[in-house]
Amino acid sequence: MTSTDIAKQKLVSALCAIALSVGFAGGAAAAPIAPQDVKVVDDAIAASLTGSAGDVEAGKKWFKGRKAGNCLACHANDDMASESFHGEIGPPLDGVGERYTEAELRAIIVNSKAVFGDETIMPSFYRADYGNRIAKSFKDKTILSAEQVEDVVAYLRTLNQ
């Protein structure tokens, strides 16, 4: 074993220790609900996927991030006027926090097809149990994590003019 290998191994075990201690220290912070266990009832998902509320600022980031939600690819949003290139595929999301409840917004993002029907072009962001020819690096993964979904929900709730 070379010295760099040993250094790497030390680093890995140190990181594991940190991860463990965070897990224990968190105590009540349960694992997020698995995608296959999420149920859409009456176009809504009542409970937070993580058990806690999302972060508005982070939600903004996922909303416009091309590698994350990339919601802006399809939806215009006046709140992000400084961003160039808003999409025209879906409806503008201005005032969407008033049109839908938190539970409804969560359902739209998690499983757009359960709400809009199978024909919708909008991706389902928290499903991992379906799809053809999914690229290897995305297989069995959701587009957004449970935390990211909650962050986006929190952000959309602020869009209420």
């Binding site: 290139f85 808003h86 020819r133 999914i134």
Partner: protein, 282 residues
């Protein structure tokens, strides 16, 4: 259709006077060099679209301008290379393309508009790239060119360019039928983590902005196409691959039977549209 309201053609006589410009909604609109229209009506009543529109229509005026004049069009670097290769002897048989086909302007005048074509010997369709390589291996006894190599792109662009202005017309019946059906199935099958089909973007939302890009109908009459993003010319199959990767799907291989079937089907969706190759895209 969901696409933006499109000004209808008026004053055709005047437009003809002002040729090569096209009169749209009272304004003279330029056209890609070598073609007289970028929009035709479908002739088949089974066609899913009620207007067939070239991808040129959806590009910015700056991008369009590069295709209004062959001297401006960066793809012509490759066309010129193809022209040179046309009469370059290669292979054990000591032949060039010109040895068998003489002047491409005569012998290749419509080939590019009719690909993919049925190949009896192989008992399957072949597209232009594949036909060029068949000529190389069977007639010239030369090595086939690699897909996406400068040589194959150059020759494909050169041959296709001889058909510029010719309406796309591919055979879809007879032995082509199963290939057409397979291509259609692929076109409408959702794939990838984003779970979309070609139709999700190019049939349902053409004319709409998807972030920085205006979606076109995904027509194929401009290929091979120079793309700024690629900084070079690229094949149709490379474009197919790109679209599949964007929706996080595992793409089929360039030159695969799947892409060949898709090429046939998408060519039919553009049946009647004049060949524009080589086009310029963003």
């Amino acid at each position: 259709m969901k696409s933006k309201e499109r000004a209808t053609l008026s004053g055709i006589a005047l437009a003809a006077l002002l040729a090569p410009g096209l009169l749209v909604g009272g304004e003279v609109q330029a056209l890609p060099e070598g073609v007289e229209t970028v929009e035709v009506k479908p002739t088949s009543k089974d066609h899913p679209l009620d207007e067939i529109i070239s991808g040129w229509q959806y590009r910015s005026p700056e991008t369009q301008a590069l295709q209004e004049d062959d001297f401006e069009n960066p793809a012509f670097l490759w066309v010129e290379q193809g022209e040179e290769l046309w009469s370059t002897v290669d292979g054990a048989a000591n032949k060039s393309c010109a040895s068998c086909h003489d002047d491409a302007a005569d012998t290749m005048a419509s080939v590019g508009a009719n690909m993919p074509k049925w190949n009896k010997a192989l008992d399957k369709p072949v597209n232009l790239e594949q036909q060029i390589n068949l000529c190389r291996t069977e007639q010239m006894e030369a090595e086939p060119w690699k897909w996406e190599s400068a040589q194959l792109l150059g020759m494909t662009a050169y041959v296709k360019n001889q058909s510029r202005g010719e309406p796309v017309s591919v055979q879809t019946d007879g032995p082509m039928k199963p290939w057409f059906d397979k291509g259609k199935e692929l076109y409408y099958t959702r794939v990838g983590q984003l779970d979309m089909a070609c139709s999700s973007c190019h049939e349902d939302y053409y004319g709409k902005q998807i972030r920085a890009d205006m979606l076109s109908q995904g027509q194929t009459n401009g290929f091979p196409t120079y793309r700024f993003k690629w900084q070079k010319i690229g094949s149709l199959h490379r474009r197919f691959k790109g679209c599949m990767k964007n929706i996080r799907a595992t793409p089929y291989k360039v030159g695969s039977d799947e892409f060949l079937a898709l090429e046939l089907y998408t060519a039919w969706r553009g049946q009647g549209l004049p060949v524009e190759a080589p086009a310029v895209r963003q």
